[in-house]
Symmetry: C2
Subunit: 290 residues, 2 copies
């Protein structure tokens, strides 16, 4: 489709009644008094600039607040124009860039971009009181010789408990069943200045034969828990001391948060709520869990 044909089709619906026909970019209203332009077809940057200026002027008249433009990476030649017309970046994914501009006199209510990377650390204990540990090939632990629990990052759209199961399987070959989240840590200014939430999880092993992943993992083993905990690095560093303390507390009946399926009230989507199931289900007294 040529640029002019594409433009013509974009304009059609705006001019249906033949009056008050202003050449504007096609936009849909959002739920917060703003508009979203989802550019899909190529457009000459000069034409884009002209239409964008006319559109902004009209949106101001209409009392719009937030203006959004989503540009697929194939339309990278329009980014500079959007920025020159007052847009800032909001967020980007590999294949698109979202730009935003607040044109209202009222305080901006532009929602924040995703702020946290989410990860897991996985404690897998077998019935010989051995813990599943790895040595990593790269990153911060490279060359330290430390045996540590498997860790990993939640993929886009992945359930937290599935991340734990997946990472253990990928790094060690061990199948597991998720038990619960024992703790979590929030830290700031890590990767790209973003924050990080890391969930310490405990899982039951369902298999025992190790199959090491070669790309990231130097070595894997089942290690007696006492030996793991006695490593100088683990003893010396506060976050690792907590892991050890919490592992010991689990044997005394420490309760974490376990996932329960939940249906969203607005869109019927399934999600998970993590609660202290023992305390939620129990009545007043706490019977010995051992």
């Amino acid at each position: 489709m040529s640029v002019s044909a594409s433009l013509s089709s974009l304009m059609d619906h705006l001019c249906e009644n033949g009056v008050d026909c202003v050449e504007m970019l096609p936009a849909i209203n959002d739920a917060h008094g703003g508009v979203i332009v989802d550019m899909k077809e190529p457009m000459d940057p000069k034409l884009f600039a002209t239409l964008l200026r006319a559109s902004i002027s009209k949106w101001k008249e209409q009392g719009k607040k937030g203006l959004w433009i989503k540009l697929p990476i194939a339309l990278v030649n329009l980014v500079e124009t959007a920025v020159k017309e007052g847009f800032c970046y909001h967020h980007a994914e590999p294949n698109y860039l979202m730009l935003v501009q607040w044109i209202s006199e009222t305080a901006s209510t532009i929602p924040l971009n995703a702020s946290h990377r989410v990860g897991i650390g996985a404690i897998v204990l077998n019935n010989k009181k051995e813990v599943l540990v790895v040595q990593e090939k790269s990153g911060r632990f490279q060359g330290l010789g430390v045996w540590k629990i498997p860790t990993g990052v939640v993929d886009a759209g992945e359930e937290l408990f599935m991340t734990a199961i997946r990472e253990v399987k990928e790094e060690t070959g061990i199948d597991t069943e998720f038990v619960e989240v024992l703790a979590f840590r929030q830290a700031h200014k890590l990767f790209f200045g973003k924050s990080d939430l890391c969930f310490l999880c405990i899982l039951h092993p369902l298999s025992f034969d190790i199959k090491k992943q070669d790309l990231e993992i130097e070595a894997v083993q089942w290690m007696p828990f006492e030996e793991y905990a006695a490593q100088p690095f683990i003893e010396k560093h506060e976050p690792y001391k907590y892991i050890t303390e919490i592992c010991l507390a689990v044997q005394r009946g420490y309760a974490g948060f376990s996932p329960r399926p939940l249906t969203s009230f607005f869109d019927e989507q399934m999600s998970y709520i993590y609660v202290n199931s023992r305390d939620l289900d129990n009545s007043i007294s706490f019977p010995d869990q051992s």
Copy 2:
């Protein structure tokens, strides 16, 4: 500084020994076998294209893996060139765009962008068994007439427990002390397709006189807990039923996760770990907490 002067200063350190002097973009090595180009000064797009091509070729020879280019929004005129030379978007903040390209034969280990927005819901109960509730002016709850607990989003770099204290203060004027996280929910494909982690928190009120925030809040009140829980919307929707159930369980001794300061092992940065403090500190038996 002129483009050529700027370029000349960029090149200086590469040519110090007078041999093997290749005109390349200035880059620093990352900890994962890649390089980061942090562009700060303006550059002619044609010169940028020439240097980028030469640099990529050299980095390939050197066996580099991930290539990163950070472009401040003022250098938006270089974005198209970077994309034409094979870069994709990685992430963006209002004032810069990060681009990335994987040039190794090995599987890409480019870290994921921030994937989650993090929020809180704040339960504030006074000693008359009343809960602090609000009606919201906009968003999903607009016009529903539902009295709900204050909610809000974690600002960049903000501690989770501080978000809860801040949001309660902003929306209602009530000062609070953070007690603990009672549960959390992970949901997917919400704002811009990103995931969401919402932490249900409980706080003790330190003041009682309500000062409503006008921008987002229609009304605020202390409401008898039974009356809050008996609202049809709250009774009907699963996530809200959980809030009610957990509030009731708190009165029977439900333990959540409370924050404890923690020092990072690598950079000495302070962060917080959230643990079941009651179970971690207790010995084998669980005394009655009531």
